[in-house]
């Protein structure tokens, strides 16, 4: 379990995240939702120590994040940000191999190679493993980065808006893969999502943020109802049940 305690972040005097307390449960998909500027990405970045919190603490399986060595931390928690700027030209295989860096420090043994192959197989990238990253489409790139995170083999996988700029088909593909990671491999996934319906259909728990605070935190069924959504988004959103999914019809509300 990841425990977030009284976490705050200020830019100047403005609190972007203010006294947030959240528990992230093992073996579940937890979605962070909320309007733009609610502090979702900042919260995720603090949990994964990409940025330092101003106050509060984060515990991963009872360990203080700041007392863990960065190498140890990277074997337990991985983070994938929305934009991944690279200064070098890499093939998919080289990128996925970097996922083993916390274990191998760059010198891959046969076990590492096996895990790299497995990760590429899992993401359906074996045919194009020698293609260069800059020649891929958005969906293929995103899959390659997720394959790297899978090769990193952490219990917790944090993703910051992985569906950005992806079309419907690829979005669904990515979400199904994340679901499989949780159901088949017992991983814990935390994901920042903009589309409330993906959160509704695929996640186990939802944490809703607004103005840097947690306004709702609970099981998906508890959050996806018109009253709760009104509080989060200030919109009247009717909910329809189709194919056993709760779909929020927000387009003309």
């Amino acid at each position: 379990m990841i425990q977030v305690r009284e976490l705050s972040k200020f830019y100047g005097k403005k609190a972007v995240v203010e006294k947030v307390n959240v528990n992230i449960h093992r073996g579940k998909i937890t979605s962070f939702i909320g309007p733009n500027g609610a502090g979702k990405s900042t919260l995720l970045s603090m949990v994964s120590r990409l940025i330092d919190a101003d106050t509060g603490e984060v515990l991963v399986d009872e360990n203080h994040v700041h007392k863990m060595k960065s190498n140890e931390f990277s074997k337990r928690v991985s983070i994938l940000k929305q934009s991944n700027f690279m200064n070098v030209r890499l093939t998919i295989r080289e990128l996925v191999s970097f996922g083993r860096f916390p274990y191998s420090r760059g010198k891959l043994n046969s076990e590492d190679l096996r895990i790299v192959e497995q990760a590429m197989e899992y993401m359906g990238l074996m045919d194009m493993q020698h293609d260069y990253m800059d020649e891929l489409s958005g969906g293929q790139r995103q899959r390659a980065f997720i394959a790297m995170v899978i090769a990193q083999d952490t219990d917790y996988i944090l993703l910051d808006e992985p569906l950005n700029n992806l079309d419907m088909k690829h979005s669904v593909q990515i979400m199904k893969i994340l679901r499989r990671l949780v159901d088949d491999l017992g991983k814990t996934v935390v994901i920042v999502l903009h589309d409330i319906n993906f959160a509704s259909v695929y996640s186990d728990r939802i944490v809703a943020l607004k103005d840097g605070r947690v306004v709702k935190d609970g099981l998906t069924e508890e959050i996806i109802n018109s009253d709760a959504l009104k509080e989060i988004y200030d919109m009247d959103i009717p909910i329809k049940r189709m194919n056993n999914c709760n779909i929020c019809v927000y387009f003309n509300s």
Binding site: S48, R49, L50, I51, D52, S70, N71, E72, F73, S74, K75, S78, I79, L80, K81, N84, F85, M86, N87, V88, R89, L90, E94, L95, F98, G99, F101, P102, R105, G106, K107, Q152
Partner: protein, 316 residues
């Protein structure tokens, strides 16, 4: 062709150039000419390796392929220091005449300057690396302007001495200093060697590097200090060669097409040796000292710099 093959071929070329430089037209002068040429070759190899190494690591940690540590104000600080000393103390003062004193003064000033700059910027915390670059360039321009101002006021004979310092020269390098510089460069390799793998990950960007367990701040600080020390040593030894690092680092990226820093740094270092030793031989034998190597390097490098800028602006 595999990268190890490429490295071996380049190394052979470098060795051939060194041998030609050492033994061509020696006329049996083993006692007099050979040791003098030997010191020059070592000084050139040392400068080349220091510039190549510092430029590659600097460009990786700053995520760019155009700016070099020299541009960060270190070259202009060196010139300012020399100008100020000559302006106020005269060209016959011990700090100019005695090469050891001058070397130690230059290295320590540049390293202290770099450390203050980095410390100031890191202490504020959370400053993006671009802010560091911007401050470095502004400070460099500031130093350059003061130097120019003092050079305008200076006595013409004294200005000749300043001018000597403005261009890199391998012709009167002190033998003893070369060994000191060699020791420092070897030390930076011993310290930096273990972090080469971390550098490979740093080229994936800050977020990915931290995700993969690299202690980002620690590695970046260590590499900035190493690059400052290396540039200071090479500049204090032979003088500023502004565009040289840019050429060899980018040639190495293009030639090796890899992310592995052990290969990139080795490649850039060998290319530097070829360029400096080969270039110096051409200057001595073909141009018969009618020009200096740094003038040629800055000419070629400047053209290459413009080419890189145009290429970058097209690709984005």
């Amino acid at each position: 062709m595999r990268n190890s093959t490429k490295l071996i071929i380049l190394s052979v070329f470098a060795a051939v150039f060194c041998a030609v430089y050492l033994f061509h037209d020696l006329n049996g002068s083993f006692d007099y000419a050979l040791p003098r040429r030997g010191i020059k070759v070592i000084a050139m190899a040392l400068t080349g390796v220091a510039i190549a190494y510092s430029t590659v690591i600097f460009q990786t940690i700053t995520h760019n392929r155009i700016l070099t540590p020299s541009i960060m104000g270190l070259d202009s600080l060196y010139l300012l220091l020399q100008t100020v000393v000559i302006f106020f103390l005269g060209s016959n003062h011990i700090t100019i005449v005695n090469k050891h004193v001058n070397f130690i003064l230059s290295v320590s000033t540049m390293v202290v300057f770099a450390l203050i700059l980095y410390r100031f910027l890191f202490k504020r915390g959370g400053q993006p690396i671009y802010f560091l670059l911007l401050v470095g360039i502004i400070v460099g321009t500031f130093f350059g302007s003061i130097s120019t101002f003092l050079q305008v006021l200076i006595d013409p004979n004294e200005f000749m001495r300043v001018q000597d310092k403005m261009f890199a020269s391998f012709n009167n390098v002190s033998g003893e200093l070369v060994w000191w510089a060699l020791g420092i460069v070897i030390l930076t390799f011993i310290i930096g060697w273990r972090a080469f793998n971390d550098l490979d990950v740093l080229s994936l960007g800050r977020d990915t590097a931290i995700n993969l367990g690299v202690s980002y701040d620690r590695v970046v600080k260590m590499m900035l200090v190493i690059s400052a020390v290396l540039i200071s040593v090479s500049t204090a030894l032979v003088g500023p060669i502004t565009f040289f690092g840019l050429i060899v680092a980018n040639l190495s990226y293009q030639f090796f097409k890899t992310y592995k820093h052990s290969v990139l740094i080795a490649g850039a270092s060998v290319m530097s040796i070829i360029a400096l030793v080969g270039g110096q031989w051409v200057v001595e034998r073909i141009f018969t000292f009618s020009t200096t190597l740094s003038v040629i390097i800055n000419f070629v490098g400047g053209v290459y710099f413009i080419y890189l800028l145009l290429k970058e602006s097209r690709s984005t």
